[in-house]
């Protein structure tokens, strides 16, 4: 059996080795940098590997992202041509993401920013109760993650719409599609939640122009990719009073640099990319199955189009 490369700074190799070995007893699991002969590697399991990571891996059949995003794989200038590009579509990851987005929506909706401040100041202050049925949540990106977030939030009584490239028929969620309906989607959105994949089209999508089209007092949640948000435009919109605040889990540079203005901003909540991490135990079934398929010459699951890049 060819070897499996494991390369990430984010996850523990031990958990993955254990979870995959249970399913593939013959697994030859090699953790970067101790990978032996690069020609032994047939399958790569990676997250944000640096440029040139696949050099010499002439027998590489597939590259699998350790998360839902694959933009870090397409950033490789010498991507081996014949290799399948795979992602993990972990149902529990969609659940974890929906839960994190719901937490941000509820925190803003329930005036959490204000009540947390009152609590620090030991002040007993009641604000007028928020009205749920008129709070409009907008989900940017209606793939597996966006769809689950939208239905979860709608189940709690919010008015939810989704925006995607093509129209999506989902019960209880109004669909806006394509560039033509983007402005109308923004105009009806009080809480904007970005769950888009990173592509050339979605890079810098949330800029001053987009933010200005949201109603005054709107809130921004980003757990898509950092490069989709123009960070200085968000700060300007918050400081100018048009945007009420933001909860962000992804940033243009991660880890967020120590001197970044987001850290200290009272209206920006910084999360260290923990909205939906792949859990080795729940992702391992799929990865093991794909390793088996790739080495048996079968078509793998959850392949990513090299053209569309998602």
């Amino acid at each position: 059996m060819p070897a499996v490369l494991f390369r990430t700074d984010n996850d523990s190799p031990d958990q993955w080795r254990e979870a995959l070995s249970k399913r593939l007893p013959d697994l030859d699991f090699r953790v970067w940098p101790d990978i032996g002969d690069p020609e032994d590697i047939g399958f790569a399991l990676v997250w944000k590997a640096p440029a040139g990571a696949y050099e010499g891996m002439t027998n590489l059949k597939a590259i699998c992202s350790l998360g839902q995003g694959v933009d870090h794989i397409f950033a490789e200038p010498n991507l081996p041509e014949g290799a399948h590009i795979l992602r993990i579509v972990d149902p529990w990851m969609a659940q974890a993401m929906a839960e994190w987005v719901l937490l941000q929506v509820l925190r803003f909706h329930r005036q959490g920013m204000e009540y947390e401040q009152f609590e620090r100041e030991k002040r007993w202050v009641k604000l007028p109760a928020p009205e749920t049925s008129t709070r409009r949540v907008g989900i940017l990106g209606m793939g597996a993650l966006g769809t689950q977030a939208a239905t979860t939030i709608a189940a709690l009584g919010f008015d939810v719409a989704g925006w995607s490239r093509t129209r999506k028929e989902i019960d209880g969620v109004r669909s806006f599609a394509g560039e033509a309906e983007f402005d109308a989607f923004l105009a009806r959105t009080d809480i904007l939640c970005c769950l888009l994949p990173l592509t050339p089209e979605t890079t810098d999508l949330i800029d001053a122009d987009t933010l200005a089209k949201l109603p005054k007092g709107a809130f921004v949640v980003n757990s898509g990719r950092g490069a989709q948000l123009v960070e200085e435009d968000l700060l300007a919109a918050i400081d100018g009073g048009h945007i009420a605040g933001a909860s962000l889990d992804v940033f243009r540079t991660e880890p967020l640099p120590a001197d970044h203005p987001f850290w200290e901003h009272p209206k920006v909540q910084v999360w260290p990319h923990v909205s939906a991490q792949t859990n080795a135990e729940s992702g391992a079934d799929q990865v093991a199955e794909n390793i088996r398929r790739v080495f048996a010459g079968e078509e793998p699951l959850n392949t990513v189009s090299r053209e569309r890049k998602y």
């Binding site: 529990w92 659940q95 509820l106 009152f118 030991k122 109760a129 709690l156 260290p272 923990v274 991490q277």
Partner: protein, 319 residues
Amino acid sequence: MSGATSETPIVAVHSTGDGPSAWVAALKDEMPGVDARPALEIAGDDLARVDVSISWRLPHGVLASFPNLKLAQSIGAGVDHILEDPQRPAHVPVARLIDPFMAGSMTHHIVLQILRWHRQAAKFERHRANHFWPMSEAFDHRRLHVAILGLGALGEHLSRALTALEIANTGWTRSPRTVEGVASVSGATALDDLLARSNVVVCLLPLTAQTEGILSAELFAKLPEGAFLVNVGRGGHLVEDDLIPALNSGRLSGAALDVFRQEPLPSDHPFWDDERIYITPHIAAEVNPPTASIVFAENIRRIRAGEAPTGLVDLGRGY
């Protein structure tokens, strides 16, 4: 008042906080022609015309001044403030408010507290204060099991929402009660078993002589290490002196409290200084005059037609 004659029955309204005027106005919107007045302004012959009282924390003795009272309706899910009145006419039915708006508000508050704890918002807030970016972590909701103490309209609403979020939950009631589609147990022994397998406890009980002080060191000891407490019932459910020791021992890892023995919470209360305790100022389920008035109008109609009101309280049990 148009349409009101000396025979027209009067609805007596009382509320603390902003006072009764918003409630009187909302009730008149919902029920044109109703003779609704602030309870404390009713005097003389008019006292005998009052057939319904709609109140929050009406001063004791006022109910007894209405000789023809047919319903004491609470502005809120709790009726302890009515039952505590020693001069309350024992034969008068008491009704709690069951308003879907309130249930939605309560559920949002509780889900927010559970998710803040599950996703370790307080820890990440500390990291943020230190500009610290930790190693990545996965959070698995399958580790959660929520014990919902009290399975009235609010508990049932919460249970259904948690189930929709795929968060395991079980309701508990003192005496047996079955709610379709909701897992529940009842009685003292079942409570011990439930606590042993729950890492979140939500108190939505009514305050009665039997439930007063139920959130105590004895109850906490039955939970697994590191459990989380949400109290949105009444301040009297929690033995406040038992909470900080349970946090210090690690039995509890956090608490979100919306109700207190004394409200507003005194500024020198030790809860304010404890970062493991998240304090909100009794805002979990705000009563909302327009939606609550729909319920009140229906109950006024029912009482005047000789029918049973919604939310009727079993006076023997106190809820």
